[in-house]
Symmetry: C2
Subunit: 335 residues, 2 copies
C-alpha cells in the first residue's frame, strides 16, 4: 500500500511514497556524464580570461585572474540576477514586481577538470566550504539581499551546463518560498513546544528509530527524510542547534568535519548509483532582517535527479517517490 | 534588467523573468517524439485486454472491454494511489502519514495512435472533455477524496511514457499544496476587495493591457500569465465566474467551446515550437468539504517543459524564466 507522508516541518508538504516492486538502483536510467573538453573549458587554469574577473581566489603566488589558484570564484557570465541597481518594488494592483537585483556567482571547486565530487581531497573540500563561507559573509554586507542560496548542480539532468566541478551562489532581494515555509513550520513548532527546535527533534527521533540514518560523525548526521520527495534524497544536518550556516566558519575543525561528511555522503550516493545527476543546496537563515530565527536550524539537502516530475507534481506540488527512504538509507549505509 | 515578478494570486510565488538576448523558439531543444509502435500499445483498439478493465467507454455498439469505442477510461496499471482502504491518518509526533488511497485513471482520448493533441477533431475534443466531466462527477461521490486533478503529460520530457494520446486523473484524500495556496490567495483578495474574484480581476486587467493575451472566444480567454514560471506558459480561463470545472457539463455549448479553444491553444503552441513536451492540468475547487469556495475560479494551466529546473529552483521554489510572457504571447498570437 502506498503511503502519503507529511514533511516534518512543512504542513502542506505531502509526498506519496509509492514503492515500485523490487526496484533497484540500476532501474534508474542515468545519462552518461559527458566531460566537455578541457580546451574550451572556461573554468580550467590558463583560461581565466574566458570568465568575468574573479571576486575571490585562493592562491599562494600569482596575480589576480592568472593561474596558480586552487579555488576561484567568479560572477556568472549569464546571471539570472544583476548586481547593479536598487530593488524598486512596484505594485500596480495585481501586477507586482521588483528589479532583478542580486548576485550570481560560480565557485570553481578545483583546477582539476575531471575529478568527481567525492574525489576531491579532504583538504580541497575544506577549501570549497571555506569559499562558500567567505563569499556568503561578504554578500551579507549588501543590505539589499535577504537570502543567499549556495547550491550545486551535477550532471546534465540536474541542470549543469559545464562539467568542470563547480558550485553556485545566488543572492536574492526576497526570502524565497521554500525557506519561508520552513521558517514558518519551525516557528510554529517552537511556539507550541515551548521553545524547542523541530530539527533537533527530527535528529533525536531519527536516531532513535535508526532506519533512515545514512551516517553520522561527531557533529553531523545524514538521513533520508521521512517524506523524501525524491529517490535517495538526503538531509545533512549539524547535530548542534545553529540557525546560521556561516557560523561554522568560526570553528575550523567543523569546516573540516563538514567537508569529510559531505564527501563521504556523495561517495555513498555514487557507489549506489554511479554518476547520478544531483543538486544540493544549503538552507539557512535569511539575512538583513531584524529576526534572529532562533527556531531555525541550517542544513544541506541533496536531491538526486532520477524521477521526472510531470503534470501531477507540477499541478499539485505533491511528489510521487517510488523509493521508500528506509530502503534508500539501507542501501546508502551499506555502500 | 531582469525582473522579479510576483504571482497574481500566490503571495510567495515569485519568478525571475530574465530574458536571454534574442532568444528564439528554435533555441529550445526539443527531443524528437518517438511514437512507440502500435503493436505493443495497450491503448490501441484490439489491445483492450492489455489494460485493467475499463471504468468508462464511449461506444455505440460492442461489448465492455472490446473494440468500437472512441473514448476509453481505465485504471492506471501502475497507480500512484490505490482505490481500496480507508484514509487512516496517523500521527506519531513529527511523523505524520495516511494510507495512499486515491484513484488513478487514464483517459484514452482517441483510438488513433498517431494523432497529435491539436489534431483531434472538434467532436473528439468535445468527447474528451465530456469524459473528464463524467469521471470527475463519478469520483466526487467517493467521500474519501478531497481533490481530483485532471492532467495531461505530452512527450517524454513531460513525463509521458506512452505516446498514444491520453490524459490522466488522480483523486487524492487531501487538498494539495498548490491548490491550497491558490485558494488562500483568492480568499484573501475576496475579503479585502469586498467580495471580488481575483481571477475576474486578472481577466479584466489583462484584457485592458492586451500584451499577454493569446486568444479569446466568447466565454474563454488564454493568457501568458504575468509571472510565468515557464517559457510559453499559458492559462486558459472561463471569462464567467465559476469555482467548479465540472459545472460546464451543464451547458453542452460550453463544452464544445472549451474543446475548440483548448485545441486552438495547443495548435498555436505547436506552431511556435513543434512537438514541444508539455503538461496541462485543471485547477478547480476541492470536493467533499463544507466550503463552497465562492472566491475561486477554475482554470487550466499549460506548462511547456523547455527549461530544466535545477538546484536554485528546487532549493528556493523560485523559478527563472528566460522568456518574458509578453514576447511569448506575441509569438503565440501570430501563429
Amino acid at each position: 500500500m502506498p503511503e502519503i507522508r507529511r514533511d516534518y516541518v512543512i504542513d502542506s508538504g505531502w509526498v506519496v511514497i509509492s514503492p515500485e516492486r523490487n526496484m533497484r538502483p540500476s532501474d534508474f536510467k542515468v545519462a552518461k556524464v559527458e566531460s566537455g573538453g578541457k580546451d574550451k573549458c572556461p573554468f580550467c587554469p590558463g583560461h581565466e580570461a574566458m570568465t568575468p574577473p574573479e571576486v575571490l581566489a585562493y592562491r599562494k603566488d600569482g596575480e589576480k585572474d592568472g593561474e596558480g589558484w586552487w579555488i576561484r570564484v567568479i560572477p556568472n557570465k549569464y546571471p539570472a540576477l544583476r548586481i547593479e541597481g536598487d530593488v524598486g518594488y512596484e505594485e500596480k494592483g495585481i501586477l507586482r514586481k521588483m528589479n532583478g537585483v542580486g548576485a550570481h556567482e560560480v565557485i570553481i571547486e578545483t583546477p582539476d577538470h575531471d575529478v568527481r565530487p567525492y574525489e576531491l581531497s579532504d583538504w580541497q573540500m575544506h577549501e570549497v566550504i571555506r569559499a562558500y563561507i567567505d563569499r556568503y559573509i561578504d554578500l551579507t554586507r549588501d543590505r539589499r539581499f535577504k537570502y543567499i542560496l549556495i547550491f550545486k548542480n551535477y550532471g546534465k539532468d540536474a541542470g549543469a551546463s559545464l562539467s568542470h566541478p563547480h558550485s553556485q551562489l545566488i543572492a536574492t532581494p526576497i526570502i524565497p518560498q521554500n525557506i519561508a515555509e520552513e521558517l514558518e513550520g519551525a516557528k510554529k513548532y517552537y511556539i507550541h513546544s515551548g521553545g524547542k527546535c523541530i530539527y533537533d527533534e527530527i535528529i533525536r527521533r531519527e536516531k532513535e528509530i535508526g532506519e533512515r540514518v545514512v551516517m553520522e560523525s561527531e557533529n553531523f548526521i545524514v538521513i533520508c527524510p521521512y517524506a523524501s520527495r525524491f529517490p535517495f534524497e538526503m538531509w545533512l544536518m549539524p547535530k548542534f542547534h545553529e540557525a546560521r550556516f556561516e557560523k561554522i566558519g568560526l570553528n575550523d575543525e567543523l569546516v573540516w568535519e563538514l567537508g569529510r561528511v559531505l564527501k563521504e555522503t556523495l561517495r555513498k550516493l555514487f557507489a549506489t548509483i554511479p554518476d547520478v545527476p544531483f543538486n544540493y543546496y544549503i538552507h539557512t537563515s535569511p539575512i538583513n532582517t531584524k529576526n534572529e530565527y532562533r527556531y531555525y536550524h541550517w542544513h544541506l539537502e541533496i536531491i538526486p535527479r532520477l524521477a521526472k516530475p510531470a503534470g501531477f507534481e507540477w499541478g499539485t506540488g505533491f511528489h510521487i517517490n517510488p523509493m521508500p527512504p528506509e530502503r534508500a538509507a539501507e542501501m546508502l549505509r551499506g555502500n
